[in-house]
Amino acid sequence: MTAQMIARPVEAPGATRASAEIARRALRKYFRTPGLFAMGLVQASLFLFCFRYVFGGAVTTGARSYVYYLVPGYVATIVLFTGGGIAVAVADDRAQGFTDRLLSLPVPRRALVIGRAIADASTNAWSICATVAFGFLFGFRLEGGAQAALAALGLCLVYGVVFTFVFMVMGLVAPNVQAAQGMSMIAFVFAFISSTYVPVDSMPGWLQAFARYQPVTPMVDAVRAALIGSSSDVGLALVWSALLIGIFGPIAVLRYRYA
């Protein structure tokens, strides 16, 4: 043993530095766990493939190929499929005692939430790009130009943050990892009963009411609109996003503060 001493830190870390550190750890875990990032890609490609070539033929979306309907919908809602991993990761950190370690450190509680959101926004951007690449393979083309594509990407990233907070809260309230996994399944209801894969008009009337007014439909419609360079439909999606972040973000921070 050496006689070297560690000096005591002068002050506790600020929210920015702490968030960056927490994001870094979440990203390392993601990219170093093949099951997390590789399986995400496999899942995305299989899903797109099945919808494009198996179900797609039976869906009527106007004159254009179904792939132009499918790809914007899928990239807009991709977090609803990968988000189970967020809920599970958060619940697992609690179960393993990793959350206790973080909470015993002089770290601002909001950094735990912001750091996680930064990490998930990054993995989400990666999933979106990979999915669009698969979309190209299946016949999708960006026709609205770079600006339209960037606007659509921006919206998808915002949705990613929105649903990250929702899934984080699931992981924080679930009694165990399995329960977190189970709770995250509710996302499928919102993903499927929406305009993501089929036009809402094709659903029975009683279901249309839910499909039309739940948050995912305006979000998906906004991405489709952005991709063709129309911004007219974006407002409602942004309002929903702000509302959901405003509700679930603070709940997540409070759950950590009084965990």
């Binding site: 043993m1 070297q4 002068v10 750890r25």
Partner: protein, 345 residues
């Protein structure tokens, strides 16, 4: 006879009230209907290793989590080096390092990456964090595995890393919640060695354990808690002395004659002996140490019982533990038996 040493606010002479390492006053923690801590009083002076002993479910872990600001007291007060855990949680967090019951490290990161991350989260700027990690790696003998992902570590290595994560912020107080639970003897030895080195270097340590030998090995000051209350507190020797009785222990060559030895012990000491069949040992408390020992030897010789070993000794912590928590407690008896082999050495 009461074994509970009255807890006074001062600690040892020279320690002012309020600068105690830990000061709990009527500390109560409830989770719904479950009362985990039930009016716990405890004052631990700085500069000593405090072991919190108790059966499973006694409230040890809850107490450590309350010190670590992970659980808020329902009522009562708790101060760590004078900082109240409710009013000044950030100040408390800056004083402590926690190594939990579970190895709370990130398995996909290397040992060094884990330590650097934790150091930064303690507030060390980048280069300082790297340096702190290196010092801790050196200190805990993790050089060879530091740059491997810690998912590949042995149990003992992983616990040491967990300990290191508690240390990189140079805490004044290291909290160890059952630091060796689930480790094999070699792993326990590794962790004990590391803790001793830290204590020698001046870190205050509070540890919980249900291994009595662990408290014996590491602690200066022992608090026994049961059902969320302090049932005994004091220096290890004082608690043992508080029992006021020595123990006569006899190991027989032929296990079939253990009952007979038991009868001799009852006759001499007038106390129920404890018989350990697998260890071929019988023991009984005695207030008349030497003369009772002579009488027992005489009795054994009259009955022509071959003896491997016989002796008079101070009670082990197992025996103290059973005495203060009450042998009727299922968990207490279980912990006593479980640790018996370890403490018998």
């Amino acid at each position: 006879m009461t074994l509970t040493t009255p807890v006074t606010s001062g600690g040892p002479p020279g320690t002012e009230p309020g600068t105690a390492l830990i000061e709990a006053r009527d500390l109560t923690v409830r989770f719904g209907k479950v009362t985990a801590l039930d009016g716990l009083d405890l004052v631990a002076p700085p500069g000593e290793v405090l072991a919190i002993l108790g059966p499973n479910g006694a409230g040890k872990t809850t107490f450590v989590r309350t010190i670590a600001t992970l659980v808020a007291p329902t009522s009562g007060t708790l101060a760590v080096r004078g900082h109240d855990v409710v009013c000044h949680p950030l100040a408390v967090r800056r004083q402590i390092g926690l190594a939990g019951q579970y190895a709370a490290v990130e398995p996909t990161m290397t040992g060094r990456e884990n330590l650097v991350m934790t150091a930064r989260l303690f507030g060390h700027p980048g280069p300082d964090a790297d340096r702190a990690a290196s010092v801790v790696i050196d200190q805990l003998g993790l050089e060879e595995v530091a740059d491997r992902r810690c998912g590949t570590y042995s149990g003992g290595q992983r616990r040491r890393l967990d300990l290191g994560a508690g240390l990189v912020g140079a805490p004044r107080l290291l909290l160890l919640d059952e630091p060796t639970t689930g480790l094999d003897p070699a792993g326990r030895g590794e962790v004990w060695g590391a803790v001793r080195a830290l204590v020698a270097a001046g870190t205050d340590v509070v540890l919980t354990t249900h291994y009595l030998d662990e408290a014996n090995e590491l602690a200066d000051h022992v608090v026994v808690i049961d059902h969320g209350k302090t049932v005994a507190s004091g220096a290890l020797g004082d608690i043992k002395a508080g029992i006021g009785q020595d123990v006569i222990e006899v190991a027989v060559a032929d296990p079939a004659r253990l009952e007979q030895v038991g009868q001799i012990l009852v006759r001499v000491t007038s106390r129920p002996p404890r018989l350990d069949r697998s260890g071929r040992r019988a023991r009984a408390s005695t207030t008349e140490g030497a003369s009772d020992l002579g009488a027992v030897i005489q009795g054994l010789s009259d009955a022509a019982i071959a003896v491997d070993e016989i002796g008079l000794r101070r009670p082990t912590l197992d025996e103290v533990f059973l005495a203060v928590t009450g042998a009727g407690t299922g968990a207490g008896a279980g912990a006593g038996t479980g640790a018996g082999t370890g403490a018998g050495k």
